[in-house]
């Protein structure tokens, strides 16, 4: 039977194809029990293959916790994560930019491997849920064929790099940050210096200081566009922020550099990454984000470390090479810009125009927002949207951190027509960016850490608010609501006017789902300030709480006073007093409905909470690299089985070099990928010093590598292929033993 691998072999970039093949080999090794479950978990997460709720094989059905007897039995894909349990596939969409063709492929995958739904995340990714791990290699190949990767979408790696959705079309931006986000994505992907973090690392670009779009102040690394006059030339660059983050303990980022030029951007980022890898916490995952390192050292000391590190960053043509390519980053609208020309406007158009249309800086063009409920759309909508994109805007599609789809470069004259077409596919709702356009994380629907149903609450609030949207005063319509299912802030509740995050309280012998109310966060000014937690209320009381808050705000606010100022002026004590009536807990007998969560008829429990995989597995760099060598050796075995002896030889040789490199990098991070250099360094550091020596075999296994490095024999047959694969196995074992003896401490 034909496979996707065969069909797409000419369409997949070779490097991407190899990474997927390696991952597939790692899957096989894990199933055979030959790859450690933690090492595989981190490798899997770095491919964006994430666990989901109930993947530990247990679920509370509202009466009791039941075992879920997955057919794979005890086979696991990570600690306490059963192989057959459905999972989530996160797909990186750098700065949210999509082509029509990519959207179609994503839609196909949602149909065939998921449940027909594409979910937009708060980091401009796409997520597919209920995906079986066995389907993930083909899913990745189909994405790779249209230049999308899931590489480093999760795990302790550089996550999807985000940027303003208005970049390039904005009235207020200093310059378009899109090509810089693109360049940094390519530069950091699989870079040696970003493989040894204790936690994830999030980067964002923003084109201006005033608006929210890029949210640079809540990122591990935030880049804010600036220009400076230097020697009479206008030079592009960035203010560099570092150490921001939400999570349980939100931190505002600090300014690392007031201005770094575009030529300094990539080496500076590389230096930050090297400092984070070298000094960041590795054991305690709760304090492993870079924000804790910056807080611990202080920004001045952190800056000194980065400046010193910058001197050690090896020269790299890519540091400045990308600048020449920036001008290639252009937009190709489907049509010429043209003003609205007095055509008859469809019903509902005026309201939609008011809330969903942004007039671009380019005359005759607009950017429109598709208000996508809960960030979800169907595969069929994806196909139809691709048609609409081709008809009106070409490949100018983006995804937003507010979980919406954005179409840029719509000719103004086409606005009525595109509105009609969007209404036909159910994506013509008005009120984008208003109080009904609520951001939410997956919560208890699929997340292992979820405590309360953020999606259930969001759906309920959205339904109620849409019903009365026309009656709401502007001051209320403009508010932002963001909901997280727990304190980890994936729904970004800290930067909403009104935020909620899930928790629980006990009433009698029952637990009751609750939401902590967080007020007065600032979305504007790039997430300029964080909100105040003012008290937890039952999940089922949240709609009433929202009504009480907004009513009082409308009644008491001063002329032009915004929500943040009103909250600050009112004070935490007074707000708490306002919430107090809602905080009184009824008994189960009084209000049984309060003991079920939104969108879930089960009696509420917190027994389903599992161990999250957001933090990834803390696995040493050596473990990750040696596992890749092992999977390459496995590919050599497969080639041998296929009778392709030359391929078997090539893969076995490559596996030996990779194993040697894994060991060399424990001493010398920047060894690079040149085979001669790796073997030379390996020889001088481990063979000549006898560190690699086996107690009995001495340097025999290392000499397998040296012999093969001198060249393949003239005749490569089955016997030879067998032999070199066996030798490779012995060499890898030898490297493992040596690393344990040496303990892999990085000394240089």
């Amino acid at each position: 039977m034909t496979t996707w691998k065969e069909i797409l072999k000419d369409d997949i970039p070779p490097e991407m194809g190899k990474l997927i093949d390696t991952y597939e080999a790692q899957m096989e090794l894990r199933k055979q029990g030959k790859l450690d479950e933690k090492v595989f978990a981190e490798a899997r997460l770095r491919k964006g293959v994430y666990g989901q709720r109930y993947d530990n094989g247990q679920r509370h059905d509202g009466v009791r916790t039941r075992d879920l007897a997955y057919p794979s039995g005890e086979t696991v894909k990570g600690p306490d994560t059963l192989w057959d349990a459905p999972g989530m596939q996160r797909i990186k969409i750098p700065y949210g930019g999509l082509t029509a063709e990519q959207l179609e492929v994503l839609s196909e995958l949602a149909d065939e491997y998921s449940d027909g739904i594409l979910h937009i995340t708060t980091r401009q990714d796409i997520q597919l849920h209920y995906v079986h791990i066995d389907d993930t290699p083909d899913l990745m190949r189909r994405l790779a064929a249209v230049d999308i990767t899931t590489q480093e979408a999760c795990g302790n790696s550089v996550r999807n790099i985000t940027a303003c959705t208005l970049a390039g079309v904005c009235h207020d931006e200093v310059f378009d940050v899109s090509p810089y986000a693109d360049a940094m994505t390519h530069f950091l992907l699989n870079h040696d210096d970003v493989q040894d973090f204790g936690r994830k690392f999030k980067v964002a670009f923003s084109g201006c200081a005033g608006h929210a779009c890029g949210l640079v102040k809540m990122h591990d690394l935030g880049l804010l566009a600036q220009t400076r006059d230097i020697d009479g030339q206008t030079v592009r660059g960035f203010t560099v922020f570092v150490g921001g983050g939400l999570g349980t303990v939100p931190h505002q980022a600090k300014v690392l550099a007031e201005f770094c030029t575009e030529a300094e951007l990539l080496p500076l980022t590389q230096a930050v990454a090297r400092v984070f890898a070298r000094l960041g916490e590795k054991k305690n995952r709760n304090r492993a984000r870079i924000k804790f390192l910056v807080a611990k050292l202080g920004i001045d000391e952190f800056r000194r470390e980065v400046e010193a590190e910058l001197q050690t960053v090896p020269p790299d043509d890519r540091h400045t090479g990308y600048i020449a390519d920036l001008s290639d980053f252009t937009y190709h609208p489907a049509k010429a810009g043209m003003a609205l020309n007095g055509a008859q406007l469809p019903d509902g158009f005026a309201e939609w125009y008011r809330t969903n249309v942004y007039r671009q800086v380019q005359t005759g063009y607009s950017t429109i927002t598709l208000n996508t409920p809960l960030g979800d759309f169907t595969a069929e909508q994806g196909f139809q949207l691709a048609d609409i994109a081709r008809r009106y805007v070409g490949d100018n599609i983006r995804l937003s951190v507010e979980q919406n789809v954005i179409l840029r470069w719509v000719a103004d004259a086409d606005l009525p027509a595109i509105y009609r077409d969007l209404c036909e596919i159910g994506l013509g709702d008005a009120n984008a960016g208003t109080i009904v356009d609520i951001t939410t994380c997956p919560g208890t629907d699929t997340c292992k850490l979820g405590i309360a149903s953020s999606r259930g609450l969001t759906a309920e609030l959205r339904t109620r608010l849409i019903e009365k949207i026309n009656l709401l005063p502007d001051a209320v319509r403009e508010l932002k609501i963001k909901v997280s299912g727990c304190f980890n802030s994936c729904g970004q509740h800290h930067v909403a006017d009104i935020g909620f995050f899930g928790n629980s309280r006990r009433s009698g012998n029952h637990k009751m789902p609750h939401f902590q109310v967080v007020l007065g966060g600032q979305w504007q000014q790039n997430a300029g300030s964080y909100g105040l937690a003012v008290g937890a209320v039952p999940a089922k009381s949240v709609p009433e709480v929202l009504e009480a808050l907004t009513n009082r705000y409308v009644a008491e606010r001063g002329q032009g006073e915004n929500f943040q100022t009103w909250v600050k002026d009112l004070g935490r004590k007074e707000i708490k007093a306002m919430l107090q009536p809602f905080m009184k807990l009824p008994s189960f007998e009084e209000r049984p409905a309060h003991f079920s969560d939104w969108g879930d008829s089960r009696v509420y429990t917190i027994d389903d909470i599992g161990v999250g995989e957001c933090a990834g597995e803390v696995v040493s760099l050596f473990s990750m690299e040696i596992s890749k060598a092992e999977s390459t050796q496995f590919e050599a075995l497969l080639a041998l089985d296929d009778g392709d002896y030359h391929m078997a030889d090539e893969q076995a040789y490559k596996a030996m070099v990779m194993a040697a490199r894994a060991l060399v990098r424990t001493k010398y991070l920047d060894v690079g990928e040149d085979y001669d250099k790796i073997v030379q360094e390996f020889r001088s550091r481990f063979y000549d010093t006898e560190l690699i020596y086996d107690r009995f075999a001495k340097g025999k296994f290392a000499r397998y590598l040296f012999k093969r490095h001198e060249g393949a024999p003239a005749r490569v047959d089955e016997d030879y292929a067998h032999q070199i694969i066996d030798e490779t196995q012995l060499f890898i074992e030898n490297v493992h033993s040596a690393e344990q003896r040496i303990n892999g401490v990085i000394v240089a």
């Binding site: 109930y54 027909g116 069929e380 159910g426 008829s601």
Partner: protein, 198 residues
């Protein structure tokens, strides 16, 4: 032998409009998990009713999904087998029909109000673009064997046509019994008689 797709779905649409809302289905599906009311290793219930023409409310199982499905503007019960399909298309179709039928029957019994499915027609989805692109060639190759199998399943001649024209859509066939009425009981008996249920 006709290739069995990676995933195979059978959907029975409602016979007539109902006052029942997707919200009413949520507790039923949750109860089905508690009571193991339908076949499969039942895991969870997902609510997508906020998405127009979407999968609605889905009962997720390890090897299959049961959806109170809203696609194509036709509410119905959609059974999608995701894993462990028999290698023979007839057996695979019989399995999916029997599971869909059992779930639809259970919903008719347990849902409040006037829920009734139309058992004279069904949509069969071949969720596998590797083997089944939605092209006329796939339709021509598949229509005859499917017609033969379904005519036997329904006990009457069946008309089979391609469900979607868009080549990007999944390959799906609409089938309808030509003349006569088909009851759930009759259909189930015929499926059981074939002795191919697993």
């Amino acid at each position: 032998m006709t290739i069995v797709p990676k995933r195979l779905g059978v959907k029975f649409s409602l016979k007539r409009a109902t006052t029942l809302q997707p919200d009413d289905i949520l507790p039923i599906f949750q109860r089905w998990i508690q009571e193991h009311r339908v076949e499969g290793m039942l895991i969870d219930v997902v609510d997508y009713k906020h998405v127009p023409d979407g999968p609605g409310v889905v009962l997720i199982a390890d090897e299959a999904d049961y959806a109170y499905d809203l696609t194509d503007g036709k509410t119905g019960l959609n059974y999608i087998r995701k894993r462990d399909l028999p290698v023979d298309l007839e057996a695979a179709l019989r399995l999916c029909f029997s599971r869909a039928l059992a779930a639809a029957g259970a919903l008719e019994t347990e849902a409040p109000g006037d829920l009734a499915f139309d058992y004279c027609s069904a949509k069969i989805s071949f969720l596998d673009r590797l083997q089944y692109r939605n092209l006329s060639a796939a339709c021509e190759n598949t229509r005859a064997p499917v017609t033969e199998i379904l005519s036997e399943v329904f006990g009457s001649p069946v008309a089979v046509s391609r469900a979607y024209d868009d080549p990007r859509s999944i390959f799906a066939l609409e089938c309808r019994v030509e003349g006569g009425d088909v009851s759930a009981e009759g259909l189930l008996k015929r499926l059981q008689r074939a002795g191919q249920l697993s």
